[in-house]
């Protein structure tokens, strides 16, 4: 048996306590399972990080930026392209992994609340994406010759909101794409148009943040992203049960 890393286990205990009240118990159990699976040699996060950085490199070749603050809008655009296209492949993994060995059926047979299941999958996907985004932002600073300063911190709300919205959308759609013929082709066809509002707002807010604009310049974009997140988390919470039903 492999040695268990201590720090992540403590992190897991805090995030998903084993003894929780019934409404939260299912959520905590599924999230704990997904995170444990990922810590013991899961490939989702690693693939997400690698793919994000590759897309970033492709964007650098395609756009050939001079770097520095003048290229902030280009850097913001590259960041979001990397996020949605890597996220498309990575964020859906938490749901798609259940398809193997028919685990999704076992989940369906369990007395678990469907909304809680959706939230657990969403939380796991968000955590994987946070790790990937941290790597991408780091590489972005290096590739685009930006500075490690407050401007990066100002980008965080937009990134966090965009990431949660995308994880919600991807989790919802993965329940579909995992179970229809050629579903992996359908995923981007459905996800990208639906993500448009958050994408526009995210790129604008990130460009403003990297360009050194004040908080007020980002307000309207952050509000759109909050609306998008609320909409898709609520939609997933309510509608996930209809996607899991079998005939």
């Amino acid at each position: 048996m492999r040695a268990r890393p201590i720090a992540p286990i403590i992190f897991l205990r805090i995030l998903a306590p084993e003894r929780a009240d019934p409404p939260m118990a299912g959520f905590a159990a599924v999230l704990r399972k997904d995170l444990t699976l990922e810590l013991r040699g899961g490939e989702s996060t690693l693939a997400l990080v690698a793919l994000s950085i590759l897309i970033l490199i492709v964007m650098v070749f395609a756009l050939d930026p001079a770097g520095g603050a003048a290229d902030a809008p280009i850097a913001a655009g590259a960041l979001w392209v990397a996020m949605i296209f890597a996220g498309m492949a990575g964020a859906a993994r938490t749901v798609l992994a259940e398809r193997d060995n028919g685990c999704i059926r076992a989940l369906y047979l369990s007395p678990l609340d469907r909304g809680a299941l959706f939230l657990a999958k969403l939380a796991a996907a968000s955590i994987f994406m946070i790790v990937a985004e941290a790597a991408v932002v780091l590489m972005l600073v290096l590739f685009f010759n930006l500075d490690f300063d407050l401007r990066l911190a100002r980008m965080l709300p937009a990134l966090a909101l965009g990431l949660i919205g995308f994880a919600a959308l991807a989790t919802l759609l993965a329940a579909i794409s995992g179970r229809v013929h050629a579903g992996d082709l359908l995923m981007p066809l459905l996800a990208v148009p639906m993500y448009v509002p958050a994408l526009i707002a995210g790129v604008k807010a990130s460009a403003a943040a990297l360009g050194g604009a004040p908080w007020s310049a980002m307000g309207q974009w952050l509000r759109i992203m909050i609306a998008f997140d609320v909409l898709f988390v609520a939609a997933g919470f309510i509608l996930f049960e209809h996607l899991l039903d079998e005939d």
């Binding site: 013929h181 148009p193 005939d247």
Partner: protein, 235 residues
């Protein structure tokens, strides 16, 4: 019975369409600034109205399908998505034809154009799902969820794209409560064209809906036959 109604509706659609064409090309005065090109407006706007109405029905029938069940709601949503897609395509094409002489470009990233394009892509995805995944109650549920989520996403898309940019003329009603149709004959033509396209929509929907209903009944009969044959084989 259904046939009589369909025929009456077809005749009504034909009459209204002839009236709309006559009014668009002969009756209505030419717009002073834009000239003859502006007449495409009397087709462009009704197409947009039909597309939005059809996409709205997709969402509503999706809600009813998940809530009450029943193949009839799924058939209605499918028929509306197909028809909405046709008219949404027409909106983009007629808009492009108008924009070339007026704005000097085929396409521009104006808010309404962008929103319409996103809608077109959204429901294109919906139809791809239906085409690729085949027919089953499961796919019907998937489609219902997509239809509902897409419609719920539309207001957010509209707001975000509007903040992003806009140059589309506010033809119908501006914020000041004025509208760009200066002549009462223009309003009359638009109303007749709207009625004609609404009738066309209803007629197309009736035909497509009836054919999907027939297909669903056929599928149900086939399932019954298979069950009966399996039972006979067991004996």
């Amino acid at each position: 019975m259904a046939n009589t109604f369909t025929r009456t509706l077809a005749a009504l659609t034909g009459l209204l369409m002839f009236a709309a064409i006559y009014m668009t090309f002969v009756f209505v005065p030419t717009e002073a600034e834009q000239g003859i090109v502006q007449r495409i407006f009397y087709f462009h706007v009704p197409c947009a109205w039909v597309a939005f109405a059809a996409f709205g029905i997709v969402a509503i029938s999706g809600i009813f399908y998940l809530w009450l069940g029943g193949q009839i709601w799924d058939d209605l949503g499918y028929a509306c998505a197909e028809i909405g897609m046709v008219f949404c395509t027409l909106v983009l094409v007629t808009g492009s034809i108008w924009a070339r002489p007026i704005w000097g470009v085929w396409w521009t990233w104006d808010s309404r154009l962008t929103t319409t394009l996103i809608l077109w892509l959204l429901y294109g995805g919906y139809l791809m799902l239906r085409a690729m995944a085949g027919d089953s109650p499961q796919v019907a549920r998937f489609a219902a969820v997509i239809g509902i989520v897409a419609a719920a996403d539309v207001p957010v898309i509209v707001v975000s794209v509007r903040l992003w940019r806009t140059i589309h003329p506010a033809v119908l009603i501006t914020k000041q409560g004025e509208h760009g149709l200066t002549d009462p004959r223009m309003v009359a033509t638009l109303l007749v064209a709207l009625a004609a396209f609404t009738a066309l929509f209803a007629w197309l929907l009736l035909i497509r809906f009836a054919s999907l209903r027939t297909r669903s009944r056929l599928a149900a009969l086939e399932r019954e036959l298979n069950l009966a044959e399996a039972a006979a084989g067991d004996l």
